[in-house]
């Protein structure tokens, strides 16, 4: 695990470029900062200033090298690199509330933006007029959309929202793609159709994050009532829910067909396993705290503490985990969704950590090694 502290401001969101030499982050303000890796250090190479409100989502398309950002100013911009400078193109989303999340589709010909206006804006490029057009998915969303994920077939879109539900929509745009074949989630997919809807009844909290597995057959989401749920589209539609004993998780990611990594307010990534029967179990926390050695505090330290903190006790207020505050986003660093070797977390403490697994031949997590 290697931790890099960018600044003291929270990192609201981040996105990697294709070869992981550059990272785009937003330090909780109106700007996006792009850092370039040089040796072991990260050097700031670009600042993208166009938004008028806090940036809430960034996504970097790996093949076409375009960045899409969305913000609280109800706008989204698509940035392209021209002569070493990132040039923005405004996308009219036609929403009257802040955008909350943005994601490129797998083929990068469209992107989806979730918003507080209780709708999802799916945008595609119309080359005749040379601009981005948006289409809305409104029904039956009743509250803010917090998170989105595309299915590998480039058509289905999963959305988690504050009305306690996780839904699978069709975002089929006939102008840019062919009709999709049938999937376990459904076969008739006109734009905006709800193919599946989960959650709500009785308990439930806001759905913070959703993730499709690499095959697209499984869908996982985490919600604010400290639960993780996975549903397998090929095995009927009863979701398997695990009530954790931790604080709510904020971000979830499939790292293989059977394993899910999630992280949240406990400042520590956790691994869950989803077996072939579809039931979910907790495996372990991935941040193994070093055994703290309690040692006698020296006289010099005692006086230093008296000066700095007006106390003589050796009270360490730092958390045991690597991250000192909630983790808001988990992303794949090395590998892909079917076999991830390293993943990256960023959080409210302004730090970015890269975690490394070694997977055994049974695809069971054996140990987490330090980088």
């Amino acid at each position: 695990m290697s931790l890099h502290q960018f600044l003291l401001e929270p990192i609201t969101c981040h996105a990697w470029n294709r070869d992981r030499t550059q990272i785009a982050i937003s330090p909780n303000n109106h700007e996006v900062h792009i850092y370039q890796k040089s040796g072991n250090q990260w050097v700031k190479s670009h600042e993208l200033k166009e938004h008028n409100g806090h940036i809430t989502g960034i996504d970097w398309a790996p093949k076409s090298d375009r960045i899409v950002t969305c913000g609280a100013d109800r706008n989204a911009y698509v940035w392209s690199l021209k002569d070493g400078v990132w040039k923005p193109t405004l996308v009219i989303l036609r929403i009257n509330r802040a955008a909350t999340f943005v994601k490129w589709s797998p083929l990068e010909n469209k992107f989806a933006v979730g918003s507080g206006a209780r709708l999802i804006s799916v945008c595609y490029f119309e080359s005749d007029n040379d601009w981005w057009v948006s289409k809305h998915i409104k029904k039956p969303i009743r509250s803010t959309v917090l998170s989105l994920d595309w299915h590998p077939n480039n058509v289905l879109l999963a959305a988690g929202s504050c009305d306690f539900k996780c839904r699978v929509f069709s975002a089929y745009i006939k102008e840019v793609e062919e009709k999709p074949g049938p999937t376990p989630w459904g076969s008739k997919m006109p734009f905006g159709a709800v193919l599946a809807e989960f959650g709500g009844a009785g308990g439930g909290g806001w759905v913070h994050s959703v993730s499709f597995s690499s095959s697209g057959n499984r869908l996982a989401w985490v919600s604010h009532d400290s639960t993780v749920t996975v549903v397998d589209g090929t095995k009927g539609s009863t979701p398997s829910q695990l009530k954790t004993e931790f604080l709510p998780l904020l971000s979830v990611l499939f790292i293989s067909e059977n394993s899910v990594v999630a992280a949240g307010h406990d400042c520590c990534p956790m691994l869950f396993r989803c077996d072939d029967g579809g039931s979910l179990t907790f495996v372990s926390k991935l941040d193994l705290p070093k055994a703290s050695i309690t040692r006698n505090i020296s006289a010099m330290e005692r006086f230093r503490n008296m000066d700095k903190r007006a106390t003589t006790e050796d009270r360490n207020t730092a958390l045991e985990t690597l991250h000192q505050n909630s983790i808001t986003q988990v992303s794949i660093y090395e590998g892909d969704q079917s076999d991830c070797r390293k993943f990256c977390t960023t959080g409210i403490d302004g730090a970015m950590t890269i975690w490394d697994f070694k997977l055994s031949s049974h695809c069971d997590l054996k140990k987490v090694e330090c980088n």
């Binding site: 308990g203 439930g204 009532d225 009530k243």
Partner: protein, 137 residues
Amino acid sequence: MSKNTDSNQFRKVDVDEYDENKFVDDEDNGESQVGNLMEALQAVLKNPPINTKNQNVKDRAEALVLKVLSAFKSSDIEKAVQSLDKNGVDLLMKYIYKGFEKPSENSSATLLLWHEKALSAGGVGSIVRVLTARKTV
């Protein structure tokens, strides 16, 4: 002729009810034994009145749960919590917090004991579920 012109209501009164020495059969007779207390806990946590809007039903259920929880000895609380499954621990937490809302003389002390054991079994997640539950017990 001798028609009774006064009220006949006195015939409807059950005199025995007002007898001070009347034997009241205690319903909770068997519960003072430990084994039965565990069963009482399971029984009282079954079918919680979550879906009803009737406040009386909820109040009565809560009072019953409180009675059972207070009947436990402090040393038995941990075993009782272990015997519950995950959903049972969540439900117990809901009742504990409901009990905190209206503290009576000794209730808070016993509830705090139960809270400590339930917390070690269910973790902070069970408390988060009490806070986010949309249908209360």
